[in-house]
């Protein structure tokens, strides 16, 4: 009990004194997850929107597959990216393994299906509502994609926040492809795992607190965005 209290006090000290080690880890975490989010959004949002408006044979299968991919185990994604990027793998010549770039790719692969599946869910209902009116204006499904993405902007922001939360909190994928190299590929989650096993509880706890604060902050932001969205969605 005393251990926990003193660990907690040291952890707060590390955060409040803006310990450079802690700051570096937090900043790398945010940069990796943010880059992964942007990459995944560039793919996932238009894909989800297309799937919301397009009608083709096999569409149900694609949607089922995407929903299944939402539950991809991070460590398996890490393994697959590891195999692709390893020296003997097809993309080994790029030399990306154990770099932040590899971590960005892994997290992007992890959350792109989540963004696409949630985007489809959000926009499909809107398309049902808009379809007849847009066709009356002479706009087909292709033209509808940017319209839906714009009109769903607030709801899609919460989708993005969900994706960011998932990326920032996962540990398996970045551990496998990043290697948890100190000062280079060590992020909050991998550092927490390592420091806990080493017994350096204050540092693990400090990073844990920062991670929780970020997750809470992201959720509060999502809540706020929903408020603005309801004003426009009526």
């Amino acid at each position: 009990m005393n251990d926990l209290a003193s660990a907690f006090a040291t952890a707060l000290g590390l955060i409040l004194s803006l310990d450079p080690g802690v700051l570096a880890i937090v900043s790398l975490s945010l940069r990796v997850s943010l880059a992964a989010l942007i990459l995944a959004a560039l793919l996932g949002l238009p894909l989800g929107a297309l799937l919301a408006v397009a009608r083709f044979p096999g569409r149900g299968g694609v949607i089922t597959l995407m929903n299944a991919l939402m539950g991809l185990p991070p460590v398996v994604v890490g393994l697959l990216i590891y195999l692709l990027l390893s020296r003997s793998g097809p993309l080994g010549s790029l030399g990306l393994l154990f770099t932040p770039s590899a971590m960005i790719i892994a997290q992007a692969v992890l959350i792109a299906p989540i963004l696409a599946a949630l985007t489809r869910q959000v926009l499909e209902g809107m398309w049902e509502e808009y379809a007849e009116q847009l066709r009356s204006f002479g706009a087909g499904p292709w033209r509808a994609v940017p319209t839906l993405l714009w009109d769903g902007r607030f709801m899609l922001l919460t989708v993005l926040l969900a994706g960011f939360g998932r990326a920032a909190a996962e540990v398996g994928a970045v551990m496998v492809v990043g290697g948890n190299i100190e000062g280079f590929t060590r992020v909050m989650t991998t550092a927490i795992a390592l420091e806990t096993s080493k017994g350096d509880l204050p540092l693990a706890l400090a990073l844990g607190l920062v991670l929780m604060a970020i997750v809470f902050g992201v959720n509060a932001l999502a809540q706020g965005v929903r408020g603005v969205a309801s004003r426009w969605a009526g």
Partner: protein, 240 residues
């Protein structure tokens, strides 16, 4: 005031529509010419809305054909439709009005001028920046009318535009409809409200169970309908 190369008259011949094995419209023939509003009347379920969607091209007929007095892509550019429940984009009042104009490829200044003129026409000039979906139901329908009017269509389809509105909002909608008609826009409108049909109609198309029973000038139809069913309908009996 008719443009030399009008898309009208619009003709339908042998028009039929079935969905899921149920026949909704059968063997509909009608002709819609420029002039005063044409009102499609009939009981709920008579097929009025489906007929409007077939004419506007939102539904493909199972039988028969819709003919324009021009190429069909040109006809598509010169008509618009307002639905019973207005479908408004999650944008401002002004952005809603601009959307179809931009889609039609009009230059920016022309879009803005037309949108502002149309919004002034329906009395929403002071609400341009408000979120469209926060307007009252009546205002939303007026915005839908402004959005269609800004396109300056030659032909405007209205599907029960005042069905869910209170008397004041209904009156506002009717005034807008009459203003547009006076400006030379051909109005084709469904209603199940006979009093409204009497107020607006130049001619009447009477539908009953998916068939057109009568098409006649309004005065003639309301004074002396040709069919027994129309007489019963005008007396306010429950025909169906």
């Amino acid at each position: 005031m008719r443009a030399p190369e009008s898309i009208l008259p619009l003709r339908a011949e042998g028009l039929g529509f079935s969905a899921g094995g149920v026949e909704i419209l059968r063997d509909v023939a009608l002709k819609i010419e420029a002039g005063a509003p044409t009102l499609l009347i009939g009981a709920n379920g008579a097929g009025k809305s489906v007929l409007l969607r077939l004419l506007h091209g939102l539904l493909a007929p199972s039988a028969g054909c819709v003919f324009w007095d021009c190429a069909s892509d040109k006809a598509a550019r010169h008509q618009a439709m307002v639905f019973q429940r207005p479908v408004l984009l999650r944008r401002s009042v002004l952005a809603n009005t601009l959307y179809p104009l931009k889609l039609a490829g009009l230059p920016r200044e022309a879009c803005l001028a037309r949108a502002e003129e149309a919004l002034a026409l329906v009395g929403l000039a002071d609400r341009v920046q408000d979120p469209a979906r926060r307007l009252s139901v009546g205002q939303q329908q007026r915005l839908a009318l402004a959005r269609a009017a800004a396109l300056q269509p030659e032909l405007l389809f209205l599907d029960e535009p005042s069905a869910s509105l209170d008397p004041a909002a209904t009156r506002a909608v009717e005034e807008i409809v009459l203003t547009l008609a006076r400006r030379g826009t051909k109005i084709v409108m469904t209603t199940h409200d006979l009093a409204q049909a009497r107020r607006l109609a130049g001619d009447v198309v009477f539908l009953h169970r998916g068939r057109v029973l009568e098409q006649a000038p309004a005065e003639a139809f309301f004074q002396e309908p040709a069919t027994e069913i129309a007489r019963a309908f005008l007396r306010g009996e429950l025909v169906w």
